[in-house]
């Protein structure tokens, strides 16, 4: 007779890894940062500065200027001037040289950028070192290559740039999102006013230093810092031709309203609540690994995170056991430690928001499972969390939590899971795990999501377009699609 004992592994880490922190010495962070306008760092007209906090220590690591309407005016004017007089007239192959130079300089300073990204945003150094920074450089390289080949990218089309692009980026991938926005805009001959998120401005300001050193003509890229009001001033500025925004769906809707009836072109990349689907014929150990990467990458602060797991009922028990075992091996610790898997939650505000959803989940009767790891005493840290016993009707299944929280549902048939996966206002990404190629193709044609990963998750490449359906936004970034968003 088969025994079905409930055997549990003891993943208790008797062999602890000694601390292996990345040294901060190679990262230079100024005590104060001004606004980068017209090739120079300028004091803000507002005379106001706000603090940049390291979420892992809750310590202040710098102060950053807050741009008001006048500062935004100045930045847009500089961008317009540079567009009219220099950048739009420059031969494309010359433009490309500057973009290549920026890409190389990002690579040269990769270590410093990775450390600052981790200190400012809380993501583990392993991720900023191996993913964020190399990908950011790759985006510049990729689009630099297209700059003088646009005729071939879009045959039979008159290539015309838009003008000044206002770009507003989020706090989850600060440097990478800056690269996603700036590189295609420059390659197509536009100039840029970019605002990084108020909780993570430092790598964008480091990028401003790189741009300054690269001798890019003044005003082609302007980087100004501030919170929502600064963003609103950019969105509402009459002399901006294009708004590119990545962030929450709520703010996306505000931008959509504000730009309605204007001549501004808009692309929005907003929230998500991706389905990650495991069929019973899937390679389960690899699927579990993919689910872990899908939801706990960057503490779950990923718009395309696989936050809704669907498991076919016949393998539900074993998948759940494997997930819990894997969860126990995740190291939640100092983000600068090379062994850290999960770093700090980006801000106090986001931490409170995630805790709100944990409470909602418990009130809805969901079963919670959290790892037994110790959390650092200081800083915004959270245990990776699983919720079972949930339904499509649960709020934690419907709403974007943007944290290390996974909900797990079961399904019986292909049609059922397709229906449930599509039954959401979002449509940014999805994942499917099966050994059967035909099932993958059947599913991907029926799922309404911008990116669908098969037997992998959270893979990014500059050549591949990225963007959403429904409330996840519109427009695509990356690949040729990303170029066309900056052309008339």
């Amino acid at each position: 007779m088969a025994k079905t004992k409930n055997n549990t592994l003891k993943l208790d880490f008797k062999m602890e890894y000694a601390p292996a922190p990345e040294s901060k010495s190679s990262a230079k962070i100024n005590s104060k940062y001004d606004l980068f306008i017209n090739g120079k760092f300028e004091k803000p007209d507002s005379k106001k500065y706000f603090d940049a906090i390291n979420p892992a220590t809750e310590e202040k690591i710098s102060t950053v200027a807050e741009a008001n309407n006048n500062d935004v005016n100045k930045a847009v004017k500089a961008a317009r001037n540079a567009y009219e007089k220099v950048w739009s007239k420059m031969p494309a192959k010359e433009r490309a040289k500057y973009i290549f130079r920026i890409a190389r300089m990002i690579q040269e300073r990769a270590r410093e950028l990775a450390i600052i990204e981790t200190m400012d945003g809380g993501k583990p150094i392993r991720e900023s070192r191996d993913i964020d920074v190399p990908l950011a450089a790759n985006h510049f390289f990729y689009y630099a290559g297209w700059a003088d080949k646009l005729q071939y990218a879009f045959p039979n089309k008159k290539i015309e740039s838009l003008g000044v692009a206002g770009q507003i980026i989020p706090w989850n991938f600060p440097l990478l999102m800056a690269a996603w926005k700036i590189a295609p805009a420059l390659a197509t001959g536009n100039t840029v006013v970019l605002k990084p998120a108020e909780t993570t401005p430092l790598t964008a300001l480091k990028l401003a230093e790189i741009i300054q050193e690269s001798d890019l003509p003044p005003g082609v890229v302007n980087i100004i810092t501030g919170a929502g009001a600064t963003g609103a001033a950019i969105v509402n500025h009459p002399d901006i031709n294009k708004i590119a925004f990545t962030g929450s769906t709520d703010v996306g809707k505000i931008i959509q309203r504000a730009t309605a009836g204007t001549n501004k072109k808009v692309t929005l990349e907003l929230g998500g609540k991706a389905a990650n689907i495991i069929f019973d014929d899937a390679p389960l150990d690899q699927a579990v690994e993919g689910v872990i990467n899908g939801i706990f990458f960057n503490q779950g602060h990923v718009c395309c995170a696989g936050s809704r797991l669907f498991v076919q009922e016949s393998v539900y028990k074993i998948v759940l056991q494997k997930l819990k075992d894997r969860l126990e091996t995740l190291i939640v610790a100092d983000p600068l430690d090379k062994n850290t898997d999960i770093g700090a939650i980006n801000s106090k505000q986001q931490m409170d928001n995630i805790h709100k959803y944990l409470k909602i989940g418990l009130a809805e009767g969901a079963e919670i499972y959290q790892t037994h790891c110790n959390l650092p005493k200081k800083g915004f840290f959270m245990k990776p969390t699983l919720f079972t016993n949930v339904a499509q009707s649960s709020r934690i299944v419907q709403e974007e939590i943007f944290g290390p929280v996974l909900t797990i549902q079961t399904f019986r048939t292909d049609d059922e899971v397709i229906e449930k996966a599509n039954n959401t206002p979002y449509g940014l990404s999805a994942g499917v795990w099966t050994d059967k190629g035909s099932k993958i193709f059947n599913l991907t044609t029926k799922m309404r999501a911008g990116v669908i990963w098969a037997n992998t998750f959270n893979k990014f490449d500059p050549t591949s377009p990225f963007g959403g359906y429904k409330e996840s936004g519109f427009g695509r970034e990356g690949g040729l699609h990303g170029l066309s968003a900056y052309l008339k």
Binding site: M1, A2, K3, T4, K5, N7, L9, K10, L11, D12, F13, K14, M15, E16, Y17, A18, P19, A20, R126, D130, D281, A282, P283, L284, D285, Q286, A287, E289, G290, I318, Q321, D325, T329, K338, N339, D435, N455, T456
Partner: protein
């Protein structure tokens, strides 16, 4: 069929779980990103030494060679106090008797490769006699090879029955089943062969003979560790693991330990449950240990070659 298997249903091995090549290789690579420093490094390196099956498997093996190897097994580097011995020495059956004398009651085990190692191309009764000969001469462990030809023909019952028969011939000796993963090629087949071996009564599953390239790799070992985990979930029985061949650097060995720890947990972190089959690994580990103590690397001439 032997009594060992009567406790659980024997599954249809053609339905063994499938392995995604890209996924398992990515996961294996992730373990190498763990940074092992200071005290964890020293403890890890000592554990590695204690998990080594110090091996000589050559046609030209002699009593003299085996005696010297047995001395080395007990005296890895006497200049460094407090070092463990290796777990076992691994020799041909003809050398078991001499090894037994040389090792005495040192606690170092004797593993013998039997069953017409390395090809396994011999009739079953020859393999059984080979095994019994080694056990009668004092082998604590038997390293058998599976019939890869039969496995690739799809004759899983043959492979299963043969392992079960050798297990019976082992008596109290622990049985290591060598899959020779370099000849099975795909991860799917490695997984299937692991399942057959465990259900047929293996105490250990082992990657390679060391005679075929590629020998042990991290992804192959991971596939086998995951098979062990699934078997444990199902039956409650722990199976030991031995990657063999190709692991010659201390750093690589530490990565393997990380992989065992994070896949199976600390219960497997001893030489009863995990071994390295290696001949040159020990000296690199010793070199690293001395470096951790003194801060400088010594040349290879300061470490004995036996």
């Amino acid at each position: 069929m032997v009594a060992i298997n009567s406790n659980y249903n024997i599954p249809d091995f053609s339905l063994s779980p499938r392995i995604d090549q890209v996924g398992v290789e990515e996961r294996a690579k992730r373990f190498t990103a763990r940074s092992i420093k200071t005290t964890s490094k020293v403890n890890g390196l000592k554990l590695v030494l204690n998990m080594i099956d110090l091996t000589t498997l050559e046609g030209k093996d002699t009593e003299g060679k085996v005696k010297q190897l047995c001395y080395k097994a007990q005296h890895l580097h006497d200049a460094y106090e407090g070092l463990p011995t290796v777990a076992a020495i691994c020799v041909y059956p003809s050398m078991v008797k001499i090894a037994k004398q040389a090792l005495g009651n040192s606690g170092v085990k004797i593993a013998a490769v039997a069953t017409a190692f390395p090809s396994g191309q011999a009739p079953r009764d020859v393999k059984i006699r080979d095994t019994k000969f080694a056990v009668d001469n004092g082998a604590d462990e038997i390293d058998m090879v599976i019939s890869r030809g039969k496995f690739l023909e799809g004759d899983y019952n043959f492979v299963f029955d043969e392992i079960a028969a050798i297990k019976e011939a082992c008596g109290n000796a622990r049985l290591k089943v060598i899959l020779e993963t370099g000849e099975l090629v795909t991860y799917d087949k490695v997984r299937r062969a692991s399942d057959i071996a465990m259900y047929a009564g293996a105490d250990f599953i082992k990657t390679s003979t060391g005679k075929i390239q590629p020998a042990a790799t991290m992804p192959v070992t991971l596939v086998m560790l995951e098979a062990i985990r699934d078997f444990y979930y199902k039956t409650g029985k722990m199976i030991a693991m031995k990657p063999a061949g190709g692991i010659s650097k201390a750093k690589a060995a530490l990565h393997y330990l990380v992989m065992v720890q994070e896949t199976l947990g600390s219960a497997w972190m001893s030489n009863h449950w995990f071994r390295f089959g290696a001949s040159s690994l020990a000296n690199d580990v010793l070199m690293q240990l001395v470096k951790e103590k003194t801060g400088v690397y010594q040349s290879g001439n300061y470490f004995s070659i036996d």
